[in-house]
């Protein structure tokens, strides 16, 4: 465990040595902030219109508009889409850098297992991802300061993002373990996530078993529940098994480094 954390901590700190982490965090917060701002403005305008209309027609006690529905839910979808682009950038260097510079030889001749190396690398990426999400808590703070959003869906939304992120990061780590070129790792990781992301499009045109398989594999479909505020073990199991699969594949890929010499 200590060795795993040492690997994770070293990797996590190395993000902040180069401008990588700062650029990623800034980019992420800029994009999510922009989308948050747009939907918030839209909500405010719509709310004002609704108020004027109800004032004009004396429309009695219609249900108040929901911040959660107008701002929080689209926000989580937007963050999910943005992380599709950012996760490959987080994971692309994880293992391919070690392979390129030969430091993998140090790891593989130390008394640690491939699993510990894998988990350590994954945790470093996950740490940076969680830190980025933490930055968006400020937006939620604004909502709580000026309104009364329902905290439940916000919590499940973040839980959903963390699960989605874990699965994407695990797959990205796996891709990174296959090559020595970070650009290749980043791009391949992006394409892989994109395919998983777009599976539900295929599902719309397919029928029967194909449709349900594609729907089940779609990363987006499983995000719908937590974004709405619903906790369902099916989604939990989906994301966790995808994560475990990615990590297991990474472990195996690290083992093959030994066989190739």
């Amino acid at each position: 465990m200590r060795a795993t954390l040492a690997i994770a901590w070293r990797e996590f700190r190395s993000y902040f040595v180069s401008p990588v982490a700062y650029i990623l965090i800034a980019l992420f917060l800029f994009l999510t902030g922009y989308f948050f701002y747009s939907s918030l403005i839209e909500f405010v305008n719509a709310a004002m219109r609704a108020e004027q209309q109800s004032g004009m027609f004396g429309g009695g006690d219609s249900a108040p508009m929901s911040v959660n529905e107008w701002v929080v839910r689209p926000f989580f979808y937007n963050v999910a889409v943005i992380s599709l682009f950012l996760v490959p950038m987080i994971t692309m260097r994880l293992l391919c850098e070690e392979k390129k510079t030969g430091t993998i030889e140090l790891l593989l001749t130390s008394p640690i297992t491939e699993l510990e190396i894998t988990i350590g690398k994954f945790l470093a990426g996950f740490g940076l991802y969680a830190l980025m999400l933490l930055g968006t808590a400020a937006f939620m703070g604004i909502l709580f300061a000026y309104g009364q959003p329902d905290p439940g869906p916000i919590l499940t939304g973040y839980a959903g993002l963390l699960l989605l992120g874990a699965a994407s990061l695990a797959l990205g780590t796996f891709v990174s373990s296959l090559t020595e070129n970070p650009i290749v790792a980043g791009f391949t990781g992006f394409v892989l996530l994109l395919v998983l992301w777009l599976l539900h499009w295929g599902a719309e045109y397919a029928t029967g078993t194909t449709a349900s398989v594609l729907n089940y594999l779609s990363v987006v479909r499983h995000f719908e529940d937590p974004a709405k505020g619903v906790l369902d073990t099916r989604n939990l199991i989906f994301y966790l098994s995808l994560t475990v699969f990615g990590l297991f594949a990474t472990m195996r890929a690290i083992e093959t480094v030994r066989w190739k010499g």
Binding site: A6, E105, I112, G261
Partner: protein
């Protein structure tokens, strides 16, 4: 301390190392000598637990490096050919990290860090970013990371390669200072380095061990001897004794028996011309002379290769390479028969 038995590593149809066997006693320094591509790195990587062998066994401190790889790795400090450094870390930070992945308790790390920094002459750069270190410092840091967990066995792959003469001397002194308390295997393609540091030498060529001896004996054998190969129909003890009694003969080695032939290698002083006396002896005693030929001394050819190349040169092998390997192979098969 280190036992290697018939270690073989194949990549497809090529054999990187072929039935390599040797042992190293506790506290000894063993030098791996051989041209580039001889299998030094492969052997060391197997010992360090990086590569699995295709066949054969290797034990370090009594622990099998394949079956109990993790336990064996705890006993070994390994300096790969390319020093595995993270350029963005500081020297102390890096050594602390290596300590962690060697599973050292925090207290032990605190205790070892200043010791190792001192041993490797790194005190002045302890807080420096590795990226800014000179090649000599990087190499010493490589040694420091191999030493941090106080291993019983050190495996150093070309510890002096790419250094300037002054730095080479520093690193050699450092390794010499470590000998005695630790068992060390180091590889090099520089002959004088072996003579200076090592207790024993294993010469590798094309993946095979072609000699194992002390540096002094090897040099003596290399410099002042000539070897004849003699194959006869039959030879009794008395005839062998007669050959041994010929002027200039140092040793007679039985190399094998097949069908109705017996083979020997006769080693003699360089000046002795053995062809005629040997032929006469064989004919006079009716041994049934089948072959009498000079052995293009396998060690000698490797020696020439090693002394004509200096540090840092690589590329194609001299013409003597294949011949050396062939003779080495013939000797092995006959010896095994």
């Amino acid at each position: 301390m280190i036992e290697v038995e018939r270690l073989t590593k194949t990549y497809g149809s090529t054999r990187a190392i072929d039935e390599v066997s040797f042992t190293v006693e506790r506290g000894q320094v063993l030098g791996f000598l051989g041209p580039n591509g001889a299998g030094k790195t492969t052997t060391m990587r197997i010992l360090a637990g990086y590569l699995p062998p295709s066949s054969g066994k290797a034990r370090v401190a009594g622990i099998d490096v394949v079956e109990s790889s993790l336990a064996a790795r705890r006993k070994i400090g390994y300096l790969p050919e390319h020093v595995p450094l993270y350029p963005e870390m500081t020297v102390s930070g890096y050594l602390g990290f290596v300590g962690s992945i060697k599973r050292m308790p925090a207290a032990k790390k605190r205790e070892r860090l200043p010791v190792v920094l001192g041993q490797c002459g790194l005190e002045t750069v302890a807080r420096t970013i590795i990226q800014r270190l000179s090649k000599g410092f990087r190499q010493r840091l490589g040694l420091a990371q191999a030493l941090i967990h106080d291993p019983e066995v050190l495996i150093l792959d070309e510890p002096t390669v790419g250094l300037d003469p002054h730095q080479i001397i520093e690193v050699r002194e450092l390794v010499k200072g470590l000998a005695g308390t630790r068992t060390i295997i180091l590889s090099t393609h520089i002959l004088p380095e072996v003579e200076q540091i090592c207790d024993r030498v294993v010469i590798l060529s094309r993946g095979r061990v072609i000699a194992e001896d002390t540096p002094e004996n090897l040099t003596a054998r290399l410099k002042g001897s000539t070897t004849m190969r003699l194959v006869v129909r039959k030879a009794a003890e008395s005839e062998v004794a007669a050959i041994r009694a010929l002027p200039g003969v140092r040793a007679v080695r039985f190399t094998g028996e097949r069908m109705d032939a017996v083979g020997f290698e006769v080693e003699a002083e360089a000046e002795a011309d053995l062809a005629e006396p040997l032929a006469r002896l064989a004919l006079d005693r009716g041994l049934g002379l089948l072959e009498l030929s000079p052995v293009g001394m396998s060690l000698e050819t490797v020696f020439v290769e090693l002394t004509t190349r200096e540090a840092g040169m690589d590329g194609d092998r001299g013409e003597s390479g294949p011949e050396a390997a062939k003779i080495g192979a013939a000797g092995t098969t006959l010896g095994a028969a």
